[in-house]
């Protein structure tokens, strides 16, 4: 699946906003830690699941460590899907 960075970021903003209560996709700070925004382990499980569906690759529980912020999540997806 080929996606550019903007597409990835946009998809991730939507996913995070959908799974973390009170997050506005438009104003989400890319460097803000998702955990600080209220993402708990269950929310991360869903984020991971949504990311699998959106980007088409398999993720594991330990991959959550790489999803600290929107920024790191983008990097992680870029590595896996290429541009």
């Amino acid at each position: 699946m080929k996606m550019d960075k903007q597409q990835i970021e946009s998809a991730l903003r939507e996913i995070i906003a959908k799974r973390v209560l009170g997050v506005n996709p438009a104003t989400l700070d890319p460097t803000q830690e998702l955990a600080m925004l209220g993402a708990d382990s269950l929310a991360f499980s869903w984020i991971l699941a949504d990311m699998e569906d959106a980007f088409g690759f398999v993720m594991r529980g330990s991959d959550i460590r790489k999803l600290k912020t929107l920024e790191t999540a983008i990097e992680y997806v870029e590595q896996h899907v290429g541009q």
Partner: protein, 862 residues
Amino acid sequence: MEQAWEIDAFRPQDASGVTDLYRAVYGENYPVRTVYDPQALIRQEAAGEAWRMVARASDGSVVGHVAFYRSSPPNPGLYEHGQLMVRHDFRQTDIAFQLMEQSVASIPRRNGMEAIWGEAVCNHLFSQQMVRDNQFIEMALEVELMPAESYVKALSGPPVCKGRVSALVVCRSFQPRPQTLYLPPVYEEILRFLYEAPEWGHTFEVSTAPLPAHVETQAFLCVFGEAGVARLTFDRVGGDFEGRLAVLESEASSAGTVIRQVFLRLTEPWVGTAVEILRRCGYFIGGALPRWFDDDGLLMQKTLNAPDFEQIFLLTKRARKLCEMIRQDREMVCIRTMGDLLHKTSQDYPNKVALLFPQRQLALTYAEFQSAAAQVAKAIMGLGIERGDHTAIWAPNIPEYMTIEFGCALAGVPLVMVNTNYRACELEYVLQQSDTRLLFLVSGVGRPGAYVEALQEIKKQLPQLQYVVLLDETSQSGMLSWAEFLAGGSKIADDSLKEREQSVSGSDIFTLQYTSGTTGAPKGAMLSHAAYIENTRAIAERQGLMSEDVVCVPLPFFHAYGCLTTISALIVGAEVAVVERFRAQEMLRTMEMSRATTVSGTPTMFVAALEEMTRRPYDLSALRGGNVAGAFCPPELVRAVIEKLGAPEFGILYGSTEALVSLMNAPSDSVGRRVGSVGNAMPSYEVKVIDPQTGEIAPEGVAGELCIRGTSMMTGYYKMEEQTAKALDSAGWLYTGDLATLDSSGYCAITGRIKDLIIRGGENIYPAEIEAFLMTHPKILDAQVVGIPCDYYGEDLVAFVRLRQGQSASVLEMKRYCRERIAINKVPAMFFFVEAYPLTASGKVQKFKLRDMAVEEMREKQ
């Protein structure tokens, strides 16, 4: 406000039967509720509120135990609390009674056996300060109760036949206490009779004041005799006691006996009659019921020793049948060793096929089987192997296996059943640890010569191993051929063998079965003749096995499950159709050729069989049931076996090497129960589910560690006292390591292994639950779920999946399927699609290997 009384019952049929009975007799609003609580006694024991006495036979084996426990009274005002419960079926109870009776022989017999026993137990309890003075002890025999509608019918319907009253028994043995009883005067006479026997020396007062509103007084009359005597009316009071008896169709009880205890609320004329009968008998009778019948079905006059009690009669032809059953039951009691079993079955079914080996076109009748086993026993003796010496066998399911197994039993030589998957080092360990003097082996399984080579490799390290017998045609130096071995028995006289056989007792060890050893060195569980006899008899009874059955055994003989399945068939004179080495095709062909009526195997065996059946049809029209066990069995698989193999009575059982088969479904259980649970406790077993952290009994329906206690358990691990103490606590509980729930009816569902439990993000996840769910996917044949380390969740789930033939699937597809249907935290992080799982010889999936494989694969994918 009206007070409600709750009675604990240990069996579901008692619970519903008692409640319904009370309501039928006293009305719907009678404030009593009987609750089946299989753990009530255990809970009370833990709280120091109940005590147990164990009856042992002279050989030390446990034949029954009696517990004193508190219970809320079913009859407030008459007694406070406390009940003495015989915890075993009639046959065991019979022995327990005999033993108790022997131990208290010095007590005057005037009040009959039950009173004597009751007195002895009471005295014991008092002397141990276990019972306070003001407690009332009630003796209750564990009996089958008829369904409520039967009682109602009995109490209100017309009598269906006439006959004389065979015996009237007041089945309660009162240990009275000086007190005021609120009783209508009509009861005074009978109570004086019961209470004021000189040797009891008690007095009581009867208050004629109006009864408190909640007090109902009753006496229980028992009519023992025919198959379910229930309605009792008297034409006249006194006189000849001509009576009319309504005989109800009896149910087969778990104990195999149909004697019933019937509770009737007495009305005045009946009490008068009862007292009169008791007077004429001069006895207050109670005790172990089967002994009251002689072979002709007569109430045993000798026992009664009442010359004027002549109205002993045979009511119906059915009574003869009943007595025949009781006689057989009593004979079964006499079977304490495998040798006894062999003699009885060869006597009863000499020309019937015992063992069928379709691949060899070989059938052994019971008489031939006994003769062959006796020949082996003599040959063993011919080598100078003494009773108690250890012998081992390393072979697949060949005909000689069974003759060696029973030959060893006759000679009193415990048999070490060696896993056919072992390699040289494992064989060395087991032979050395077990002090084996004689080994039987085939040259190899899979590759000819493999076993012989393995043995030669380690022979020097086994100085105690004196003899090796090769079961193949080939000969090897330093080993006896089968023919040479058998020839050595010719010098042993029949009398010598007989003498040896008679020296073997039920508590002697029959087999040493080594556990798989995944958590350390394999441990040799010592299982006695009595344990095997008791357990296999119970299996046969619960499964409804009869001599007409053909039992297909694809399980390896060396495994406890295979061994139990085979012997449970032999104990009833059924035919065993043997699959020598499991392959689905061979199993199905054996079932087809032998017209098997039941089959027992592991889940993986049935998965393979179902797959094979999609390739070609097999005629399994004779099949009615069987069992699956040995590993967690998903409900979908049981349903598939019931439907596709056409085995409507198929169910799950639960067992272990250490405790044999301890829970099992019966064919009469609903399909839902047979699919979703491993059944309830076998007779003479108790189960409890505890919180593994606290050791407290877990609330109903909450998963915890399954613990088992019973009389058919291992004696211990051979030469491993420390490990034995770890496995069995001082109260005799075996901690199984399995996670389970118990429902309100005592049915148990296994939810996983404690060590398989996956804790993902702090949530307990049971792989078995996920596996069962995955099998609902139309593409999935079966699945295994394991936990792997995860640096975020602590552990994560990985699924290994076998797809149905011709199917393909992607990991994401599987994950999506799960996400839509189960909690997100239960969705496996990864799916691996495999052709087969690593298995043990007995067909169990080796999860630790899957775990290692998953860790390795995931590492590579990093």
